[in-house]
């Protein structure tokens, strides 16, 4: 199968003052890949993900999106972000809009779609995530799992080419994790390119096509889930997995 590069990251660094969070990340992601990014807290996973749609301004290095340098001065950031979906740990649904409007506003104002078109698209994806019955609800009236499913529908409604997930299940009650992971699994099977920062090792193992282990601001290991979980090359990966997998039991 022919592979097409979607992200090429070279020597990406990010400092917060004197705190060097990312110390040179090199990574290539192809279309259709589902990449899980795992690692201990503070290893730079979320910062890396947030650099990809420039919610964080990288300190150094380059990020190419389909060959185009997104750090270029004349790069159209709005248009780019519209193509890159993002799902946050804290959902970040717009509190002043109901579920339907949350999934329509970006389509109308950023992509310039008509109200009709935006509504149809929003309903289509809300149905896919099982939230079509709640289109009139405000975010504050939903459970965490429901909110996150709406957030995924919002990203999909923009016809995103990639979706970045920043610990999508970390803020959820345990019994709501499953419904969100199920939606993500279906999405992965539909061929969507996904980068998922997660603590859900089962998801990383079963759903992703590739797992990246980050440690101390660099990619320590980058391999298939089989190798990472059964036969990791890096000592730090082994240690990390032993710790988190033991905790799971």
């Amino acid at each position: 199968m022919e592979t097409e590069n979607i992200f090429t990251v070279k020597n990406l660094t990010k400092d917060f003052g004197t705190n060097k969070v990312l110390k040179g990340i090199d990574l290539t992601v192809n279309v259709g890949e589902v990449v899980s990014i795992v690692g201990a807290s503070g290893s730079g996973k979320s910062t890396f993900l947030r650099c990809l749609n420039l919610l964080e301004e990288p300190t150094g290095g380059t990020i190419l999106y389909r060959g185009e340098n997104i750090l270029d001065k004349n790069f159209d950031l709005s248009k780019y972000r519209a193509k890159i979906g993002m799902v946050f740990q804290q959902f970040n649904l717009f509190n002043n809009m109901n579920v339907l409007k949350n999934c329509m506003i970006g389509q109308q104002k950023v992509l310039g779609r008509s109200k009709e078109e935006a509504k149809n698209k929003a309903l289509y994806y809300l149905e896919k995530v099982g939230m079509k019955d709640y289109i009139n609800a405000k975010p504050r009236q939903l459970s965490g799992g429901q909110k996150q499913r709406v957030a995924i529908a919002r990203a999909l409604s923009m016809d995103s080419e990639v979706i970045l997930f920043d610990e999508p299940t970390s803020a959820l009650d345990p019994e709501m994790v499953g419904e969100v992971l199920m939606v993500m699994k279906n999405l992965a099977e539909s061929g969507m390119t996904m980068l998922v920062v997660t603590h859900e090792m089962q998801f990383a193992k079963d759903v992703s096509s590739r797992v990246i282990f980050m440690d101390g601001g660099v990619v320590a290991e980058d391999s298939t889930p089989e190798i990472i979980f059964n036969n990791p090359k890096n000592l730090r990966t082994k240690e990390f997995l032993r710790r988190v997998l033991n905790e799971d039991i």
Binding site: N53, N92, N95, K109, N136, Q141, M158
Partner: protein
């Protein structure tokens, strides 16, 4: 005796007093709205993210300094003084020509309210969760879209009590405009008291009139707040197949996550 005096004063001057009420309400209402718009505009400008372009960076710094000066000057001096300075300042520059009274009253109160509103809006913007901005940016909204569609509607709801507070303050503070001769309620009362020589009765009457105005406005805005709050229930769409089977789910709290 007292009520007879009141009745006498009322009979002589009620028309003038109502003109005063009209002008007071007109000036305070329009100025509160314009002041709010000034405050929102300043709020949007001050939150523009730092640009990489060095020229824009400098422009932004200069604009911020100008805005700070504006806010400090108009919050830090009495409106009565501002009224005289602006009115007589204009006459000084224009060689004795004076500004028309109502427009200059609107100008003075609006620009004064704007300075306060700018700070109220700033507080409102700070109180909005950072995630709301990020959620908007992540789907490609620019700063202006983020503010107009996502942030400002939430800010407005949060600062509504402060807005109604400003409105009430403006109703009372328009009274200082008598120093430049604007025919608001206090000015009309002064004229009336000189006509009737019943100073106590005249001002007792307008105290009640001020109180009725502010009380009514506060209640109306409280009602408006309730309306904005919206319904506490929503309808699950699946139940549409059976119109009697509407399921209403009560929300847990105003901002419960």
């Amino acid at each position: 005796m007292f009520f007879e005096t009141i009745a006498k004063v009322w009979q002589t001057g009620w028309r003038q007093l109502f003109i005063g009420v009209g002008n007071t309400l007109l000036i305070s209402l329009i100025s509160t709205i314009i002041g709010l718009l000034i405050g929102l505009l300043i709020g949007i400008i001050r939150t523009i993210p730092q640009s990489k372009n060095p020229v824009l960076k400098v422009v932004k710094k200069i604009v911020n300094v100008i805005l700070s000066i504006y806010i400090e000057v108009f919050r830090g001096t009495p409106m009565m003084v501002q009224a005289r300075v602006i009115d007589w300042g204009y006459a000084f520059i224009a060689g004795g020509q004076t500004l028309p009274l109502i427009p200059s009253a609107l100008f003075i109160v609006s620009i004064n309210t704007g300075a306060y509103m700018a700070e109220i809006v700033r507080g409102g913007i700070i109180s909005i969760d950072k995630g709301q901005f990020e959620g908007a940016q992540a789907i490609g909204m620019n700063h202006f879209q983020t503010m107009v569609y996502v942030v400002i509607p939430q800010v407005l709801r949060n600062i509504l009590p402060s807005i109604s507070n400003e409105f009430v303050i403006n109703i009372k503070d328009t009274s200082v405009l008598n120093v430049i001769g604007v025919a608001e309620l206090f000015y009309q009362a002064t004229v009336l008291s000189k006509l009737t020589f019943e100073i106590f009765a005249t001002y007792a009457i307008i105290s009640v009139m001020y109180l009725i105005m502010t009380f009514t406005i506060t209640r109306l805005l409280r009602l408006f707040e309730k309306l904005l709050e919206g319904k506490n229930t929503y309808t699950i769409m699946g139940s549409q197949s059976d119109p009697k089977a509407e399921i209403h789910i009560k929300s847990e709290g105003r901002d419960g996550n």
